[in-house]
Symmetry: C5
Subunit: 306 residues, 5 copies
């Protein structure tokens, strides 16, 4: 995620870091070359004038707009839902920690409370690693000890396994003796909420926007851009490359951003900063426990957090 203070309106026009421009340069160069050719040949291909007026572009533009709007809205909805789910994890884990501190009987000592905190944090890290398909071992060893991390290594659904542990620990007679059924239910509700957020993230990660939409939009955008110079060359003449490259920039950039936000758990510049989010949850849980809190995450590149 790019976090960058607002610039003045003028400097904002020339921002480089955080613009999606860097990732679509090849396509824009291609468009520049193509439209320059159109100018040089006056819109002729093999000597034949391509008879495109503005009319077909208005018709094209119709479907293009429909596809772009739909694709962008569907992508952004995935982004905001992903963010909401991680926000819910922060809320549920904080509440669970606070409830454990207030309602668990006195007989549960410091170590028991630290165990709950670590298990909670481990489930969050496990989810991050599952969503990014990275190796969770290091974080799990740090938080749960080597033995438990080893047992978890072969689990497919690690965060769920860890939350399952938490439930057993809080319910089992050999673990923490709860004062009452009601207290158990309060804690179970928060674990349930965490499981719900985990399931929501899995859903987003495993179900992309139907592939056919992407293909259809992609083809329409590029067909539109490639025909554009031949449609404009008669009216905009020498300015054709400038106009075409800029219009292509807006269309291709929007498609590129939509692709990034549609996979909110990836490492792309416009995806969610899961590293920051996990650290925030860790910091907040530890602060509630009165333990020392780790430093905030620093950006991997100027203004860019992952």
């Amino acid at each position: 995620m790019i976090v960058r203070p607002m610039q003045s309106w003028f400097r904002m026009l020339f921002v480089w870091n955080g613009s999606v421009l860097q990732s679509i340069i090849p396509q824009l160069i291609f468009m520049g070359v193509l439209s320059s050719l159109a100018v040089l040949t006056h819109g002729r291909v093999f000597g034949e004038k391509i008879p495109l007026s503005a009319a077909p572009f208005t018709l094209f533009g119709l479907t293009l707009a429909i596809f772009l709007v739909f694709r962008n809205n569907a992508s952004y909805a995935r982004f905001t839902e992903g963010r909401l789910l991680w926000g819910n994890m922060l809320v549920s884990s904080r509440t669970l920690m606070s409830q454990v501190l207030s309602y668990l009987p006195e007989s549960v000592d410091e170590m028991g409370r630290a165990h709950v905190a670590n298990t909670l944090i481990a489930s969050i890290y496990a989810l991050k690693h599952q969503l990014r398909e990275t190796d969770a071992t290091e974080d799990l060893v740090r938080l749960l000890g080597e033995q438990r991390a080893k047992e978890l290594a072969h689990k497919v659904y690690k965060p769920i396994a860890i939350l399952n542990d938490m439930r057993s620990y809080l319910a089992a007679p050999n673990g923490v003796p709860l004062k009452s059924d009601m207290t158990r239910w309060m804690l179970d509700t928060q674990i349930n909420d965490l499981e719900r957020s985990v399931g929501g993230c899995e859903r987003i990660a495993s179900t992309p926007i139907p592939f056919s939409y992407s293909v259809l939009l992609h083809r329409t955008v590029y067909a539109y851009c490639m025909l554009l110079p031949f449609g404009l060359v008669d009216s905009t003449e020498i300015f054709t490359p400038l106009v075409c490259v800029f219009i292509a920039y807006t269309l291709i950039a929007l498609e590129a951003i939509a692709n990034e936000v549609a996979e909110p758990f990836s490492l792309a510049p416009n995806a969610l900063a899961l590293d920051v989010l996990t650290r925030t949850i860790e910091r907040s849980i530890l602060e509630i426990c009165g333990r020392e809190i780790p430093a905030e995450i620093t950006p991997v590149r100027p203004y860019q957090f992952t």
Copy 2:
């Protein structure tokens, strides 16, 4: 559902598997022939010039855009709601299983726990078969035994009947003796959630988007496409077939995709992969129980899951 890694922008233009192109070829050939005829006759029918300028197409385009956007949004909303409901089933069944393992008294042995897991998985399979109108017998025999499968054969609402069994089993004095009312209520809440998801899926399956919308959109799309060559032939000349087929492709393809995602439980390439989803739920429940988990579903065709 098509699950396919992102291609480079260039190769994406020529993707075949996963594009909806294959299912609308007849219509596109028809459009190609029609627009070629328009070029050959210079837009004349029986010697009479059809006097269509771009103006009516802009007006047509207005309603066409409204219908396409509405139809597509309404269809996609059904798709995402269907996905959400199956995601909720994963969450609720996992939570129920985990609660059963933690909160049921010691006296409930391995077999009792396996019975709960199997009943849970059976309800999911039964829902899949109900939504796809396929025969559930095989899966029910595998999970519940021949006798129970036979009893269920004549039930109209099989998943509900199975969840009803689950509730009786967890509540009945001859079944599992619960420690307390509170525990019963915790488990009942998850069964309730499962019933809610089942009801939601039935609702989507039994209530299509009002048929009149489909007819109206369909007619507008085809009327627009068929008149298009006669409107464009004067300005785009020999390029008319290319332009018309491409515009027709975008419109007809969008209608086709919208039709597929509007019935998210069908076997169409852009519908939900219910086989994968049921297997995922099965795997996750069995992993929580510490039992062996079956392999993941493989695609029926390259990149295509059902």
Copy 3:
């Protein structure tokens, strides 16, 4: 509601049953006559040429599109909300029935259980009759007996009165003695959900989309359609009636469909099939009870359910 299997793309163009076409024929004939007159007079009225070019239609089109999109979305939102509420009633009543069977003490005999089932079904039928402003007596006599039906005859809010009965029956010491407060609360939650759905349906039925929107849209659609022939006659000549009638068809049909789905509890072809829905709920509740289930509803006209 129209339930009709998908046709081939070609036959779909000529569908009669389920198209809204049948209800707007007078307006279309009027449009045909008007545009024919425009052709005959070359766009003159009393010898004066009406100087309408395409320009004003683009401007008109703007507001027309805004009104149509808004009206259609608002109407469809009412339709889907109505459907959701009836779906919730199915879920809540099934769950309540299942809970009654599992959790009520043994001392409640067959007759008590049948009484609960009948009361539940009666509340659903009463809601249907209230929403459609039809006479509920017949169904209430069948389900609750003549005496109770008579008492209910003068009630304004019949479904609520029946659900109120249900609550008293399950709570009252002379009725069903509940094992515990917790069980009472579980059952009360489902009754509460039913009351919530009833209230939601009443809200939709009693609050139309603000009337001024309808008037404004209606006037804009007809003004647009009536001026259209005079704007197009110079460019489309003899084809004017065809083009105008088709454009008028798309606009007036959309308004007509939107009017129908905006009142989802009416008997219109695109409204909800409340008869089917009530029967489904009845069937599902009776199946849970292990009682004989009535047949499904048959369509009143080809493909049309009410």
Copy 4:
């Protein structure tokens, strides 16, 4: 709120009551005069021809459409949310009343039950008066007696104070002795829901759509309308006033309706009929209690309810 049966398509074109036309006549007359002047002077101001073609209007139209759509959607969302909140109040208060009748111990007599009903109804009336900034005294005296009404007179948040009374009454040992904690919690949940709806209404009433949006839309609409005659006069000639006044009517009327529905608790014709809604809640609560119910509200003007 206007409640009016659907007219035939022809009579609907000339509806007067319920159309927003009556409130925007001065602006339309102004537009008529302005466009007539443009026709008389052939688009000249002080002898100078104003060179406006259709092109700028298409560009203008773009932003105008964006503003109108946004403004209208945001306004209508406030209207539907306001309606939803009042619907929730109906549901919660009915449920609370029904629960009080079923679950309160026998020792609470007729008078106690009537007291609960009256307090409930008083909170609804108090909310109506707070939202409309009218004097609640009369209704409070009628329902709660003169003394209590006097105590409430100086309260800023009257509905909350009344619901607070209700909570104390149901919880306090000197008031109604509840059988159990569970019952108290059931009743408290409904009071909580009522407080939630009250808070939601206060939120809508106290937070308008950001003022800058209104200013921006207003200026764009009027600038567009005032320039329109000069842009159209060359093509539509003598018809300019007719076309301009009609386009202005659609734009200004939409803004006017949007302004009305954006404040759903006002007395405007397109706002919610709070008088009807409060009376409906009163009637429904009293019917549950078996008490005599007051008559329905009659319209203040033909078809118009407040």
Copy 5:
């Protein structure tokens, strides 16, 4: 937030306070100079005519509209969600206060109740200061005493720490002895709701709309505005500056408003009035307690609340 009574349609055109105009004057002057230059040179740059017709602007306009609509909707969604969360805080804290007054045992004296009220109010103020990154010390000292304020000074998540205190106070045996588990759970639910709202606000504050969207929109708006004079100068001649500045005003103003509402917790004129909201919550809680209530907040500038 601007709160201003509606003006007559004519005076509304010249509103200054509350219009976003004041903050975009430099850009508009720049546009005025640029378009005047275009008129003086007849659209020539270094003697070369810039060949821009209306056609490219229609194509540009397409993407511009998509970006503006998306950006504005996404921003406004953040505004309304922020408002909703603060509304929920009002509801939850009022309910919690009311429950504490009704359900806490008699043994909890005036001072205990005042302590709960003050802690509640302090958490709201702490959230406001956290969101606005201002110093909370003064308010915390006033409400919680100097010692507690000092302890909180080093906390990163102050509102959560204060709510955590509240939970301990209501649960701890040395604090308030609760009558029962059920009562504890009722109070805990409200604290949980407050934590949920706090987490929601943190989410909005820490996750901006993806930066790339802002850059893309910004560039498109300014490129469009800067090219506009050259596209219009041939048709609108001397009127070009007027038309261009007005169109630029609508576009740039919309971007500016969207930027403001996208950060609903800032001090911008179109952000939320957090000072008013915190004071309202304080007033309402104190009124429930029967304590003296502070005066309402007065605007910092005419019509402007922060």
